[in-house]
């Protein structure tokens, strides 16, 4: 009894240090210290963008060929220069990638001349290979001091393809031949292809094509569906590895509609000036990869499940550009493996991804707590502006995650930092709302009695409002945590790592095992975090609020 008496004194008069602290405060303190230490540990294990100047950041888009070329650049630079390389592979699309390059978040990435012309410069397609290259070179240098290095030797253009036997029956060799029979054909096209001016939109105008039916389909499904005869025609990339496997005919683009898409390295001028050797080693790859070779490399990744780093290394070895010493230990995992052995074989990678994932979401959440709880306290004092501010913060939530991530790039570059910032913004709202309403609605009659008995507002806040609001605040934190862990899978799109990496890669390869190897741990992680925070929620609930025993 006397211990309790002692303890409530410090609850109100927190400045009297000599008094023993009550249990609830010790507890809160312990949780807090624990979280702090854990997060600091994670923070230090994350590589935040503070690269020294002799580090080259190589980026890529989120499809395999882009990753492979980027990995080849990276390994070549590592093998032939003193420079260190940081990889930011799998950035979400051309806009993100180019924005990252332009703002200096990455130093180089593989790009295609056609994309440079149409998507980045926003100009109408041109049809001559050399003039496209010269044009984008001139414009990029002029506008952004970004250099198109010499082409790598292959084009990855759009093309239309169909099964060889169908092509023969229908007598098709060119796209012009297609005009006649198109009204009887079902086409399965990629979503992007359907949308693009240099895709289906321009194609139908240029040739006057009218299909019976156009179905939007995912890459891998298209091939299977065409092979089975469910659809007649598909769009392909000319270097797609699957073209080496399926017996398809690529129709000749006799009007030269599809603009040339020559692959080349896109490099920031500043970094070339600082490290001229970079330009030299990249130009070692000039005309080094022809289309069949590229298809074969793609095939190894797409269909045979080999690691990008291994395939890139082999490609460079074949060119005698790197030595043997560089071989990394590689497990080639068959996609047909049953899931659990597959998961086991990837355990070290997954552990690292899980660590990254926890780091990203943990830091985002931590910053969220750091801002939202004090802000909630302030708003509770300043209720006039509260609803407006909470609504504004709530609006952050309605920005689609990918868009928010993309907005972060010009400000924070690519990698962990923008991802953490985006997650932080997402985590604010539930915590802020719950802190505010928890404090505002905390047992008004009890607050009033405290006031009537002579407690100051500060004492009321500390001894009544906060403890009574703690479970509500904790529930907000819990909501944010789940949300953050879920959204952190998208961080893979801006090269921040995490469990989204295998998910995104798996989606591109239509590899269910690969997708699951990211999705399952992410789900388990979310459930674990939820369960753990549920415990904490029970724990911070002041004892008298427990149901009567």
């Amino acid at each position: 009894m006397s211990i309790r008496l002692f303890s409530i004194i410090t609850l109100i008069q927190g400045d009297k240090k000599e008094m023993p602290t009550p249990r609830s405060r010790q507890r809160t303190g312990r949780i807090f210290t624990g979280i702090m230490v854990g997060l600091l540990g994670l923070l230090s294990s994350l590589s935040l963008p503070a690269w020294p100047s002799d580090t080259i950041v190589v980026g890529s888009k989120n499809f395999m060929e882009s990753r492979l070329l980027a990995e080849m650049f990276a390994q070549l630079i590592e093998a032939r220069t003193e420079l260190t390389v940081t990889r930011r592979l799998g950035l979400a699309g051309t806009q993100v990638c180019f924005e990252a390059l332009r703002t200096g978040a990455i130093d180089l990435y593989p790009e295609y001349t056609g994309t440079g012309l149409v998507t980045i410069l926003n100009e109408p397609p041109m049809h001559d290979r050399v003039s496209v290259l010269n044009h984008v070179r001139k414009e990029f240098l002029h506008r952004w001091d970004i250099w198109w290095m010499a082409p790598l030797g292959f084009e990855n253009s759009y093309a239309l393809a169909l099964r060889r036997d169908r092509a023969q029956t229908l007598g098709l060799r060119t796209i012009s031949d297609l005009v006649r029979v198109a009204p009887q054909l079902k086409a399965g096209f990629g979503y992007e292809f359907i949308q693009r001016q240099d895709g289906l939109v321009g194609l139908t105008e240029s040739y006057g094509l009218q299909f019976q039916n156009v179905i939007g389909m995912q890459q891998t499904l298209k091939y299977q569906a065409t092979d089975k005869g469910d659809i007649d025609l598909l769009d392909v990339y000319t270097t797609d590895g699957r073209l080496a496997v399926y017996d398809f005919v690529v129709l000749e683009d006799d009007h030269h509609f599809f603009p040339p898409y020559e692959a080349a390295a896109l490099v920031r001028g500043k970094i070339l000036k600082r490290h001229p050797e970079l330009g030299n080693v990249i130009s070692l790859l000039t005309n080094a990869v022809d289309p069949p070779r590229m298809r074969e490399l793609n095939l190894r990744i797409q269909e045979q499940g080999e690691l990008v780093s291994q395939v890139a290394h082999d490609a460079l070895r074949t060119l005698d550009l790197v030595g043997d010493n560089h071989v990394r230990s590689v497990t080639i995992v068959e996609s047909s493996d049953s899931f659990l052995p597959y998961l086991w074989s990837k355990r070290s990678d997954l552990t690292m991804r899980t660590g990254e994932h926890l780091g990203l979401s943990g830091l985002g959440l931590f910053l969220g707590i750091l801002i939202a709880i004090p802000l909630g306290l302030i708003l509770e004092q300043w209720r006039k502006g509260a609803e407006t501010i909470i609504r504004i913060v709530g609006m952050l939530q309605t920005i689609p995650s990918i868009a928010l991530l993309a907005f972060m790039i010009p400000i924070f570059g690519v990698g962990a930092l923008p991802a953490i910032m985006a997650l932080w913004m997402y985590s604010l709202f539930p915590i802020l709302r719950n802190t505010y309403s928890g404090l505002r609605d905390a047992a008004p009659n009890v607050v009033e009695t405290g006031r009537a008995l002579g407690m100051t507002e500060w004492q009321i806040l500390r001894a009544i409002r906060l403890p009574l609001a703690a479970p509500t605040i904790m529930a907000g934190i819990r909501t944010s945590a789940i949300w953050t862990v879920g959204t952190a899978t998208l961080a893979a799109f801006i090269g921040a790592g995490g469990l989204g990496v295998p998910i995104v890669a798996g989606l591109q390869l239509a590899d269910t095992n690969l997708i699951l190897s990211g999705a399952l741990p992410a789900t388990v992680l979310a459930l674990t975090v939820d369960g753990f925070l549920g415990r904490v929620e029970q724990w911070v609930r002041p004892r008298g609020l427990e149901p009567v025993r």
């Binding site: 009894m1 409530i8 009537a452 008995l453 002579g454 609020l545 149901p547």
Partner: protein, 293 residues
């Protein structure tokens, strides 16, 4: 109170609270009440513990909760404040401990204008019991009772002594309930703890806002008995709000009848019974005779 500020002294001598308003129509005004007044007060010669002078309270929405209240409570007396719901009882009580400020007039607490006193210090000298007890659900009974002593910086030993002394006065066994949480007590026990908490720092004045209003009739009767014995023992100045006439008659030394922000009558139970000042008071008394208790 050895010395009173001259103004209070004057109003006390003149029996201001019982004065008829000069500007009111004498026959119809509800503020008018029987003038038993100042001779009686002079006989008692007791100073005011609480006094209000021309106190009005208007809410921002324009509605008057209280209008020109002239009222006082003597030291050591229990004043029952009765009126129907919305008549302004709680508002009047909140003006005393400065949870609200009058829009007009002055409240005196122990002779000093309340507005000149630090509200926090003032409230610590005024015990307070709300209708639902208002116990802190996350604090033990012990912690709840010791709230004000602790705010006042009493030593833990002294707090402990106070708890062990107080709880038995209210028929509570410290050994049994001191470490329990409010949810682990019955409604009656909770109200008694709330009373104990109000008394813990030995305040000269205790304000009770319908303290027994939410209890079942048996428990209420029980608590009223305890309240009576406590009252005679402690001799504190108390203001007890109730909407129950029989409770007012049982517990109040004097009774104030409030309706729609006006005082209809102030008097002892005897005075109310024998000379109701307004038809409203009369109807209350009639009703009380019809349904006593």
């Amino acid at each position: 109170m050895a010395s009173l500020p001259s103004r209070t002294l004057l109003s006390w001598l003149w029996g201001v609270p019982q004065q008829v308003h000069q500007d009111d129509d004498a026959s119809s005004s509800p503020q008018r009440f029987s003038v038993t007044p100042r001779i009686k007060e002079l006989v008692h010669m007791k100073p005011w513990a609480i006094e209000t002078q021309h106190v009005s309270k208007q809410f921002p929405n324009g509605a008057y909760a209280l209008r020109d209240i002239e009222w006082g409570v003597q030291e050591g007396e229990t004043m029952a404040l009765i009126g129907e719901s919305g008549s302004g009882k709680t508002t009047l009580l909140r003006l005393l401990n400065r949870l609200a400020e009058p829009t007009d007039g002055i409240v005196f607490i122990q002779g000093k204008p309340a507005c000149s006193q630090d509200p926090i210090q003032l409230r610590r000298r005024l015990g307070y019991v709300p209708q639902d007890g208002g116990l802190f659900p996350h604090w033990t009974i012990n912690q709840n009772v010791c709230l004000v002593p602790q705010l006042l910086g009493w030593t833990p030993i002294r707090q402990l002594e106070q708890v062990t002394k107080l709880l038995p006065l209210l028929n509570l066994d410290p050994a049994q309930i001191a470490e329990r949480y409010p949810t682990e007590l019955s409604g009656g026990q909770r109200q008694r703890v709330a009373v104990a908490r109000a008394l813990a720092a030995d305040p000269p004045i205790v304000l009770l806002d319908e303290p027994f209003g939410a209890l079942d009739p048996l428990t209420r009767h029980d608590l009223q008995d305890q309240f009576l014995s406590l009252k005679t023992r402690l001799q504190k100045t108390m203001v007890l709000i109730t909407h129950d006439m029989s409770e007012a008659f049982r517990l109040g030394d004097r009774i104030t009848i409030l309706k729609e922000g006006h005082i209809h009558q102030i008097g002892t139970p005897q005075e109310l019974l024998h000379s109701p000042a307004t038809p409203y008071v009369d109807s209350l008394i009639q009703h009380y005779h019809a349904h006593p208790g």
